[in-house]
């Protein structure tokens, strides 16, 4: 792996996002002889699921992939946030406040997913995190020894995060999954088709014996109590409160599709449309992993491989992984569908847009995303709607607004660099 600096790079294949999909794409393309550039905002590769400080922390499969990446000829660009890209084969990233241009022949978008947050009273208090959020912070060095943690929300992420926190010395108060038990158990039973996953699930459950993984329960509100928190939980009938130090709540994952939308790829229902070779609707652009549909790390690796091979001009063999990924995604959706009561999670004065402190009551029913933005400023902040847009889509059925450059905040100098790229370079 070659770390690079410099204002303009030329690649056969540019890969955006260094999670499992991006790593697989980059490695396979490079092993086929393509010049590959891999970019990510984070200082180390791994994305969210393989976030680490030292490779020793990782499960063997992940460590092997990172090792393979290290030994490859992939040019690795850490701390590089892609802010603009054009279908005529360029992209601009910002790194250390400075613009970085990559000219590519093929682009693999592997930008992963973000958590879906549904606002509830108290969700903006310090020490209230997302589920993936607290996991990411844990992996980045947060010390949770002796801390009480309430985990809530929905999805298969809750278990592994609880297990990781427990292994790190946290006291798990409860893991509250909103989906009803019968649906969760049917999903877990369905994992028998994939013994590897079942083994993992068993390991998670054993990992925190004293903790309770409870279904049909959700976090209704969090209140501050000095340096601690009061967490109010409910099953729709009973309401009770638990004291805690930390709270982590997240309601599943949302594909990150700002970049594909910007560059003109077909995106339906918030997912990038791809064929069996992971080709998007734009020639030369591929997409792999969560942006095509939430289907987990195994699907991401398989799709990344196909995208990397195709991007390097090598036709992938056999049937593509899309079918299996879509089936898994459908099972996930069925099992963890969000219950109706969650629409009432926020109070009228609960903040929905955290960047601009816009409360739910300020947003009239029936407003479009654009009208909401212009009338209340919701969505006008630096997160560019990444937190509030999925919430408003869930709460109000609001479709996202159009995407325009920059897709992440960028300095004036970097944005200016986007229009200075000579066209037609190879």
């Amino acid at each position: 792996m070659v770390e690079a600096s410099g204002a303009a790079l030329h690649a056969d294949v540019a890969v955006v996002g260094a999670g499992p999909a991006g790593i697989a794409a980059a490695v396979h393309a490079a092993e086929r002889g393509a010049r590959v550039v891999l970019l990510d905002s984070a200082p180390r590769p791994g994305g969210q699921i393989w976030r680490h400080r030292s490779p020793g922390e990782l499960p063997p499969e992940a460590a092997a992939w990172l090792d393979r990446l290290r030994r490859s000829d992939v040019t690795w660009l850490p701390g590089s946030t892609v802010v603009d890209a054009l279908a005529d084969r360029t992209l601009t990233a910002e790194r250390d406040g400075r613009p970085l241009t990559v000219h590519w022949n093929a682009l693999v978008i592997a930008t992963g997913a973000t958590e879906r947050f549904i606002p509830f009273p108290g969700w903006t208090l310090p020490n209230v995190f997302g589920v993936g959020g607290l996991q990411a912070l844990l992996k980045a060095g947060v010390d949770v020894r002796g801390k009480r943690v309430v985990i809530g929300g929905s999805g298969p992420l809750l278990l592994p995060v609880a297990a990781a926190l427990a292994r790190a010395g946290a006291r798990i108060v409860i893991v509250a999954e909103q989906a009803p038990a019968h649906r969760v158990y049917r999903f877990a039973a369905g994992l028998w088709r994939d013994p590897g996953r079942l083994l993992q699930a068993g390991r998670y459950r054993a990992g925190f014996m004293r903790a309770a993984y409870r279904c049909g329960i959700w976090v209704a509100r969090v209140d501050s109590a000095g340096s601690a928190l009061w967490v109010t939980l409910t099953d729709g009938r009973r309401v009770w409160t638990e004291p805690s130090d930390l709270v982590a709540v997240g309601y599943g994952l949302v594909p990150s599709v700002a970049l594909p939308r910007l560059i003109g790829c077909n995106v339906i229902d918030g997912r990038v449309l791809v064929d069996q070779s992971q080709r998007t609707s734009v020639p030369g652009i591929y997409c792999a992993g969560e942006p095509t549909g939430i289907a987990g790390a195994d699907a991401a690796l398989a799709e990344g491989r196909v995208a990397g091979l195709a991007a390097a001009g090598a036709e992938p063999d056999g049937r593509g992984p899309r079918g299996a990924a879509r089936r898994f995604e459908r099972r996930l959706d069925r099992a963890f569908r969000l219950r109706q009561e969650l629409h009432d999670l926020p109070d009228p004065d609960t903040i929905v847009c955290r960047c601009e402190d816009v409360r739910l009551a300020q947003i009239d029913a029936g407003w479009s995303a654009r009208q909401t933005k212009l009338y209340t400023r919701a969505g006008m902040g630096p997160c560019q709607g990444r937190v509030c847009q999925p919430a408003l889509e869930y709460l109000r059925g609001m479709a996202p607004d159009a995407v325009r450059t920059p897709v992440f905040p960028a300095s004036v100098a970097t944005l200016a660099a986007c229009g200075r790229i000579p066209q037609g370079d190879s």
């Binding site: 903006t124 310090p126 959020g133 912070l137 060095g141 010390d143 630096p382």
Partner: protein
């Protein structure tokens, strides 16, 4: 390799582990609020992955740096602006 390095947060020196993120370092030092919102509420990190922008702090004089993406560096100065 040193066990800890020193960073300066709001003028106060802190010893932190050399391989953790700035957001983690702040959390471990008991600094739970990274910024004040538009409505002056205390806020801390939410997403841990650089998309929510709640963890923005000023690092070495440069504003709007996401602490969750920022590795700590020896001698780094940090202002949480509330």
């Amino acid at each position: 390799m040193a066990d800890t390095i020193e960073i300066v947060v709001n003028g106060v020196p802190l010893r932190v582990a050399p391989d953790e993120s700035l957001a983690a370092a702040l959390f471990n030092a008991g600094v739970r609020s990274t910024r004040r919102s538009a409505g002056a509420e205390a806020r801390g990190p939410l997403c841990g992955m650089g998309t929510c922008f709640e963890c923005r702090v000023t690092v070495d004089g440069i504003a709007q740096r996401r602490a969750c993406l920022e590795p700590v560096r020896d001698g780094m100065t940090v202002d949480t602006n509330g």
